[in-house]
C-alpha cells in the first residue's frame, strides 16, 4: 500500500489548507515546483512517503508583474520561460543569466528560481543574484503573506525559514533605479551544467558623475549559505568602481568566505576564486550601470 499522494491545488487558500491538514495529521509534505531537485533527491536517496503539493497550478506562482515600484516574479516559473521575457532580461540581466546557467534545455523547461532558493543549496546560482537585487521572498501563510529578505531565507545547508504549512509565492524585487547594473559569475571546471565551485553576484548604481552610490555583493558556494558581503559593497560605494575599488571588494569577498575543501575545490582555491569573480562581475555590473544611466 503506497502512502504517496499528489495534489495540485488551484488557489493559495486551498494550498495552505492542504499543507495544514497534512501537517496536523503528521504527514510529510513536499512542495513541488519544477521538481528538478525534488524528484532527483526523492529517487536517489530520500524515498520516504509524502504528499506532493504541486504549486504550478496557482496564478500567483506563475505571475510576472512589472510595476513602477516593484517587479513580482512567481516562484514556479521555469527559467526557460523567464529567459524569454525581454523586459525582465533588461531589468535583471545578472539574475536571468544566473537562472540560465542552471542545467540543460530540458532542465530549464522546469527548474524555477523559487525552487533554486527553496532547495537552499550553498551553491544555488540564482540566490546571490536575488540577494544583490534586494529581492524579498513573498511567503504564503495562514495569516496572509509575510516577506523575508533573500539573504535571510536560507538558514543552513538545505535548510530555510519556511515552516511546514507555508510556501513561497514568489519574489518582490525593487525596480532598479537609473544607472543600476547587475551581474553574476560562477566558476565551474566545465563549460556548463555543473555545480558552482564559487559564485559572486554584484549590483551597483552609478550617479551621473560615475560615482557608485549603492552596491550589493553576494557570494555563493563558499559558506553554508549564500552570503551578503556588506564590506565588499562598502569598498565600492563612493568610488567609480575602478580597478582599485574592485580589487578591494574582491579582497572583502575572499575574507568573508568560509569555504570547505571538497571534490570541487580547496578552501584556499575557493577563497581566491570568489574574489576574482567579484572583480569580474563588478566590471560587468559597472558596464551595465553606465549604459543604464540615461534610461529613467
Amino acid at each position: 500500500m503506497s502512502n504517496f499522494g499528489y495534489v495540485a491545488p488551484t488557489s493559495v487558500e486551498e494550498t495552505l489548507a492542504v499543507l495544514q491538514r497534512a501537517t496536523d495529521q503528521g504527514q510529510r509534505t513536499q512542495i513541488l515546483a519544477g521538481g528538478t531537485d525534488v524528484i532527483v533527491q526523492f529517487r536517489s536517496f530520500d524515498n520516504s512517503h509524502r504528499l506532493f503539493v504541486d504549486i504550478k497550478s496557482l496564478k500567483e506562482t506563475n505571475d510576472v508583474r512589472i510595476e513602477n515600484e516593484h517587479i513580482f516574479i512567481g516562484a514556479a516559473i521555469p527559467s526557460g520561460v523567464l529567459n524569454e521575457n525581454a523586459e525582465l532580461k533588461t531589468l535583471f540581466p545578472g539574475l536571468l543569466e544566473a537562472a540560465d546557467l542552471i542545467g540543460s534545455t530540458q532542465i530549464q523547461g522546469r527548474a524555477s528560481i523559487g525552487g533554486n532558493l527553496c532547495n537552499s543549496s550553498p551553491a544555488g546560482d540564482t540566490i546571490p543574484a536575488l540577494i544583490v537585487n534586494a529581492a524579498l521572498c513573498v511567503i504564503a501563510t495562514n495569516e496572509g503573506t509575510r516577506t523575508v529578505p533573500t539573504e535571510n531565507f536560507v538558514t543552513g545547508v538545505g535548510r530555510n525559514c519556511l515552516a511546514a504549512h507555508e510556501f513561497l509565492l514568489g519574489f518582490q524585487i525593487p525596480r532598479p533605479s537609473a544607472g543600476t547594473g547587475d551581474a553574476y559569475l560562477r566558476f565551474i571546471p566545465r563549460t556548463e551544467m555543473d555545480i558552482a565551485v564559487a559564485g559572486t553576484a554584484v549590483s551597483l548604481t552609478l550617479n551621473h558623475d560615475g560615482i557608485c552610490e549603492r552596491a550589493r555583493v553576494s557570494i555563493g558556494a563558499v559558506a553554508p549559505t549564500p552570503l551578503l558581503v556588506s564590506s565588499a559593497a562598502e569598498a565600492l560605494v563612493g568610488t567609480t568602481a575602478d580597478e582599485d575599488a574592485l580589487q578591494q571588494a574582491a579582497q572583502a569577498c575572499s575574507d568573508a568566505a568560509q569555504p570547505i575543501t571538497d571534490k570541487r575545490g580547496t578552501v584556499e582555491y575557493r577563497r581566491k576564486v570568489v574574489g576574482v569573480l567579484c572583480r569580474r562581475a563588478g566590471a560587468i555590473a559597472k558596464d551595465r550601470a553606465l549604459s543604464n544611466r540615461n534610461c529613467e
Binding site: M1, S2, N3, F4, G5, Y6, A8, L32, G34, G35, T36, I39, V40, F42, R43, S44, N47, L51, F52, D54, K56, P78, G80, G103, S104, T105, Q106, I107, G109, R110, E192, M193
Partner: protein, 160 residues
C-alpha cells in the same frame, strides 16, 4: 492511497490512465501507455534519453511526476514522424550520417533536435551544441549528431 486518474494527450491521442503519485511521466509512458520509444538512461535528469515535449516545452520525463501530465499535451519520439511522409528530416539525417550506434540516446536527440529546429530553423553549430548539451551519447562522440542536425536545418531552410 488510491490510484490517481490522469487524462492526458500523447502524440495527439487522448489517454486516460491510472497512476501512483510517485510514478514518473516516463513510467506512465512506458509502463501504462506502452510507448517504449522514450528511454530511461540515468533517471536523474542528466542524460536526456527520456526527453519529451510537455505542452511544447522540452523536459526530462524522468523528472516529471505522472499525475502532472493531467490535462497536458505530450509529444514523444513516436509522435515525431509524419504518418504520411515517413521519417522526419531530423530522423532521416541521423540515419544518413550514421549518427547513432546503440540508439538508446537517439529518441531524446530526435525530440530535442526537432524542438530546436521548430524554434530556430537556422541554428549555428554553437547553438545546436548548447541546445543538445542535455542529451548525452556515449557512442558517437557527438560530431555526427551535430552534422546531422546541421544537415536537417539546411534541408529545412535551403537558402543558408
Amino acid at each position: 492511497m488510491s490510484k490517481i486518474y490522469v487524462s492526458t494527450t500523447v502524440n495527439g491521442r487522448p489517454e486516460d490512465v491510472l497512476c501512483e503519485a510517485h510514478q514518473t511521466l516516463l513510467d506512465l509512458l512506458r509502463d501504462e501507455i506502452g510507448l517504449t520509444g522514450t528511454k530511461e538512461g540515468c533517471g536523474t535528469g542528466d542524460c536526456g534519453a527520456c526527453t519529451v515535449l510537455l505542452d511544447d516545452r522540452l523536459v526530462c520525463s524522468c523528472l516529471v511526476l505522472a499525475p502532472e501530465a493531467d490535462g497536458k499535451e505530450i509529444t514523444t519520439v513516436e509522435g515525431i514522424a509524419d504518418s504520411q511522409e515517413g521519417l522526419h528530416v531530423v530522423q532521416q539525417k541521423l540515419l544518413e550520417h550514421a549518427a547513432l550506434q546503440c540508439g538508446v540516446c537517439t529518441p531524446g536527440f530526435v525530440v530535442a533536435a526537432k524542438a530546436l529546429l521548430d524554434k530556430d530553423p537556422n541554428p549555428d553549430e554553437k547553438t545546436i551544441r548548447y541546445w543538445l548539451a542535455g542529451n548525452l551519447c556515449r557512442c558517437t562522440g557527438y560530431d555526427k549528431i551535430i552534422r546531422a542536425v546541421q544537415d536537417a536545418a539546411q534541408e529545412l531552410t535551403p537558402t543558408k
